[in-house]
């Protein structure tokens, strides 16, 4: 077991070093290299916010939630709407300070995402726990319904973030290059969440229950623990974290109807690459996939191969699965 983990860690490190080397070779200057690294970590952290929920929900409940990307998209739309003039809920006159309004917008996104996650688990998914294929169809159907509802409320027009607020507009200088402080902020929030969730899983009673449930949910029940209540809690939490991800991504990526499917596919690539149900695999997989996308974006500049960044996560996934079918940190299920 220890040898396996060491091999996995070495494999992840080798992939990371390989990506950094390619980034360095492509960059031409330290400034460009810094931009690629910052962009990779930024995308990695956003991916983590989608994939962490996917991974924990799959590990504990054996449910691959295909609506997870939709919660990310909902988060982006709710945050955008709350922040800008003329939205569904116009907060600009009630909360004139854009910094405070952004905090409120993020909290609103978390609440909406968590509530919708709770409704999905309690109202629909719970009825289908013994039928895995139906769960897949259900969560896919929910993602389509969410997409149509979003189109109905906000139309199909993509929204670019135009509202100016503190951290969104500030920059810092490094290697003669201007770097966005907001990217650094998102990376910081992502790292904080990676550590906070890891501590929660390691140290708290609920974390012990979740880790035990990932191994053997039936035995957890036989010990007197209401696994269904834990399912609801974890599902709600996973959806709230995804909505949070969408909310903090919106100032950079805006809000559009393609966000959900794009992040869902990349999130699935992360979860499978890291090892289904492995939290540490998901955290490391997010960073690797984020870095791979950033390196591919850099490499695609000036070429006609514009699709390279979007297919890179899948290429990396195929490479890892060929060498290790259970993913980097996964166990055979």
């Amino acid at each position: 077991m220890m040898i396996n983990r060491r091999t996995s860690a070495i494999a992840a490190l080798l992939i990371f070093v390989g990506l950094i080397s390619v980034a360095l070779l492509n960059a031409g200057s330290l400034g460009n290299f810094g931009i690629t690294i910052l962009s990779g970590l930024f995308q990695g952290m956003l991916l983590f916010l989608v994939a962490s929920g996917l991974s924990i929900i799959f590990g504990l409940m054996d449910v691959l939630n295909l609506a997870q990307g939709s919660y990310f998209m909902i988060g982006a739309y709710v945050a955008y709407d709350a922040q800008h003039v003329g939205g569904l809920v116009d907060l600009t006159s009630t909360i004139p300070d854009p910094n405070v309004r952004f905090i409120v917008a993020v909290i609103a996104a978390i609440i909406v995402g968590g509530t919708l996650g709770f409704i999905l688990e309690r109202g629909l998914l719970r009825l289908l726990y013994s039928r895995p294929v139906f769960q897949l169809v259900l969560t896919f159907g929910v993602s389509l319904v969410v997409l149509e509802v979003i189109k109905f409320i906000w139309s199909t027009t993509p929204y670019s973030w135009t509202e100016v607020f503190g951290v969104r507009e500030s920059f810092f200088q490094l290697f003669d290059q201007r770097f966005s402080t907001y990217r650094l902020f998102v990376i910081g929030v992502g790292i904080f969440l990676i550590v906070a969730i890891a501590i929660l899983l390691r140290r708290s009673k609920i974390g012990i229950i979740i880790r035990a449930g990932v191994e053997d949910g039936e035995m957890v029940q036989a010990l007197g623990i209401n696994v269904r209540a834990v399912f609801t809690l974890v599902f709600t939490f996973g959806c709230a974290v995804a909505a949070f991800g969408g909310a903090i991504a919106a100032p950079f990526l805006g809000a559009s109807t393609s966000l959900g499917s794009a992040f869902l596919l990349q999130g699935i690539a992360v979860v499978v690459l890291g090892g289904m149900g492995s939290y540490e695999g998901t955290a490391i997989g997010s960073i690797l996939v984020g870095m791979a996308i950033a390196v591919a974006q850099d490499a695609a500049i000036g070429t006609s191969f514009a699709a390279l960044p979007s297919i890179t996560p899948m290429l990396l996934l195929v490479l890892v699965l060929l060498l290790r079918p259970s993913g980097l940190f996964g166990s055979a299920r």
């Binding site: 012990i208 053997d216 039936e218 029940q221 036989a222 010990l223 007197g224 623990i225 696994v227 269904r228």
Partner: protein, 236 residues
């Protein structure tokens, strides 16, 4: 003698397979009752049916006068029934301490019971911070039984406690089960007839999904023909 558990004519299906076709078991308050039978007779399914893990489609299970049918496994466990499954089901990624803490029904259960548990299984004390997956088979079995002792369970369902263990560990396990049976009732599944005869006072033989015969184990030990007929083994 009053019975803490009454299983009455249960029928259990796994998928489309009719596994239990009429099993009845009475477990007296205090003492050890053993379920005997050949491989695949339905002993494990009987324990799982009592726990609600594979709920019976027909028949009744009553614990201390309360009907268990329709209750979820966690609710059944909370009523005071501890389950030690076949193959132990230790959480391999959790430490021994976390495995034990997970079984608490109330905060502090483990702290309150730790002296008793470590007295019963002294090895667990020095292994307390090790992951469950690093323990030997015998140590895992000790942990599985210890886990069922953390809350104040009044009935323990123990499935094949001697399976795959070295003889010296089996002797330790027998001593431990005898001790813990002084405070709880035990319903045991055991393939090793020598172990079963040493531990139990009552027996129920399950044959092809039906409870065939029951009584005092001392009488069964004497009845070599019966043992040969239902278990396919000699008693010597």
């Amino acid at each position: 003698m009053s019975n803490i558990l009454e299983v009455c004519d249960i029928h259990t299906f796994i998928g489309q397979f009719h596994i239990l076709e009429g099993v009845s078991v009475s477990v007296p308050t205090n003492g050890i009752t053993v379920l005997l039978g050949r491989n695949g007779a339905g002993k494990t399914t009987t324990l799982r049916s009592i726990m609600g893990l594979t709920p019976p489609a027909r028949g009744t299970v009553t614990f201390d006068g309360v009907m268990l049918n329709g209750k979820s496994p966690h609710a059944i466990a909370r009523m005071g029934i501890g389950f030690v499954p076949e193959h132990r089901a230790i959480f391999k990624g959790l430490s021994v301490r976390e495995n034990l803490q997970l079984a608490e029904h109330r905060g502090g259960d483990f702290a309150r019971k730790s002296d008793f548990i470590f007295d019963l299984f002294p090895d667990l004390k020095r292994l307390i911070e090790l992951p469950g997956g690093n323990l030997s088979g015998g140590q895992q079995q000790m942990l599985a039984v210890a886990r069922a002792l953390v809350p104040d369970n009044r009935l323990l369902l123990i499935d094949e406690p001697s399976e795959g263990l070295a003889p010296v560990i089996i002797e330790q396990m027998i001593a431990a089960i005898q001790r813990l049976a002084t405070g709880s009732s035990v319903l045991l599944v055991e393939q090793n007839f020598r172990v079963a005869a040493k531990l139990a006072q009552q027996y129920v033989i399950i044959d092809e999904g039906r409870s065939a015969i029951n009584g005092d184990i001392s009488a069964l030990v004497q009845d070599k023909a019966l043992v040969q007929q239902y278990l396919g083994i000699g008693t010597s």
